[in-house]
Subunit: 337 residues, 2 copies
């Protein structure tokens, strides 16, 4: 038990809960013996659904939580009022050291607010950023921050750059990750007040490989590994990514159905097309970690299916094995000392 990675999973969160969540959990524990999952939510419901799967004794444990935080609820209020919700119960397990990590496809707002309020930040971390991996032509890049921290300051962005570098290097396995700040031009004097203030600070940072500004145009091409921006801009990038991919793919499919000739062609290219689009599907890469907390909190898409849940749980293992939080702690303290 000592070397197990203990992951609390929100059985009630997301569009496909609890079925896909439970399926993902079953798949994760069947892959690795060193994972222990706490399925947090309505006990009877989970018990019933879990009967469909077989798994090693002791790898899955149900933790009862009678309430559910809905997507539309104001996050901070919900966290304070619904003390017996799956999100609050699971986050408290992380806080108390009963779990190493928490994975949820539920309300982003509640997971972000709860992560900060209940689990708490690593000493020295000013704001915990939400950092999803986004697909690019070259693989993936870490987009940091896409969280609830709007109106950020330059010192926050510098910490995002450091935490993002550590994550990309040790969890994703990119050596000497290239860090860039989102800007509206490549020159140093360009940008808004925040970017102009942050740019020289990033340039001075010794423990990151800062390559300068990145224009949004170059993000999908994979021009940087760690893409630093404040949360509003990050959210726009993330959402536009999803929207563009879905509309373009839809239009291309529709276009192929316009003539008999193209319909025949569509049949032939379908498998190859599917493969290509899969590489641009964010769910391949698990969820987005909320970095800088005393424990790991991972937010997966609201529309997550079993595969994304499974990948998010596996991600927690790497995070613990690589002692990411110790590395963040060291890095932040070294900087402050």
């Amino acid at each position: 038990m000592q070397d197990m990675v203990r992951v609390a999973v929100d059985a009630m969160g997301g569009d496909n809960a609890p079925d896909e969540i439970i399926k993902g959990v079953a798949e994760a524990v069947s892959l690795r013996e060193d994972i222990k999952v706490f399925l947090v939510g309505k006990e009877e419901l989970i018990q019933e659904k879990l009967r469909a799967y077989s798994y090693r004794e002791g790898q899955i444990e149900i933790v009862n939580a009678t309430e559910v935080i809905e997507m539309a609820e104001p996050p901070v209020v919900a966290i304070r009022k619904k003390k017996d919700s799956s999100i609050v119960v699971a986050l408290k397990m992380v806080k108390e050291g009963k779990a190493d990590a928490f994975v949820s496809a539920g309300s982003s707002g509640a997971v972000l607010a709860g992560g900060q309020l209940l689990v708490g930040r690593i000493k020295g971390v000013e704001r915990p950023p939400l950092a999803p991996l986004i697909p690019t032509r070259k693989g993936v890049s870490l987009l940091i921050d896409c969280g609830a921290n709007v109106d950020a300051r330059s010192s926050h962005l510098v910490q995002f750059a450091k935490m993002g570098s550590i994550y990309m290097e040790h969890v994703v396995g990119v050596k000497k990750p290239r860090v860039a700040i989102v800007n509206i031009g490549a020159e140093e004097e360009k940008g808004n007040a925040l970017v102009k203030e942050t740019f020289p600070l990033l340039k001075e940072c010794k423990d990151i490989h800062f390559i300068g500004s990145i224009e949004a145009r170059d993000i999908p091409a994979g021009a940087a590994d760690v893409i630093v921006c404040e949360a509003f801009v990050g959210n726009v990038i993330l959402k536009l990514y999803e929207g563009m991919a879905s509309v373009l793919v839809g239009e291309i499919k529709k276009g192929m159905m316009t003539s008999l000739r193209s319909k025949m062609g569509a049949l032939l290219v379908k498998p190859a097309l599917k493969e290509t689009l899969k590489s641009f599907d964010a769910s391949q890469y698990g969820g987005a970690p909320l970095l800088g907390l005393n424990g790991l909190v991972v937010k997966t898409h609201g529309s997550s299916k079993a595969q994304e849940v499974k990948n998010s749980i596996i991600q927690c293992v790497t995070f613990k094995e690589q002692q990411i939080n110790d590395k963040i702690r060291e890095n932040i303290i070294r900087e402050e000392g």
Copy 2:
């Protein structure tokens, strides 16, 4: 001559100048007899290139300008120093009423700075926004502002919404255009300080059809006609649009070349695919107007070819015919009075 729309065109700006610019000009004047173009730039060079085209007497006139502002020059400095550059000479023609409009594929910064410094703003307009049309599943939307006005205030955004509505209704022909503000969630209480301050002001506006927040995800689907945001966010959206389209299309093409089967299919779907992608090609829609100036300034892509130049010139005709600046003037004055 009285009813001619007089357009000064920067013969020296953009990656494909002067050849594609001159070609676009020749095409525009062959389409409509009521356009008079001043081709501004190095006289001898233009004269020589122009020989390849035939056009009605008096529809094209060369205006000599011996200097060229390069892409990399700091805009404000360049505008002040290069008094005989094509951009400065052409903008002064607009200022002095010798031309109604200016079209350039040259340095965005110089066109934006020059437009403000040399042509001047309509009385009451706080900041002139750059407003490109972006392709969506339903047609096009106006993204306002993508200009150089970073760190905008809420009053600027309200004016952007009004000017954008007028443009979409009278130039593009969208009745009662739906206006939305870019946000990180649909609820009114979401957003950064700027959005939270602007939202209620837009709600109060009687002369626009405000439909609330828009998440970046819904932009490509065409969920609003006028998309209001400050310039940094607008620039990110515009550039990511271009980047995503180019990378996704590239990956899809590459994917189709992976097997014999898919290669055969690719041959069959190619014409249909080309048609689909054309509808997502921004150059179809002419350039981006810089609104709120005493005259019209249109910035086209640096990579513009003849078609975009031609469309941008035609756009100037509609702009003048529809008396857009009078409408903006009335609207801004009514609001202030």
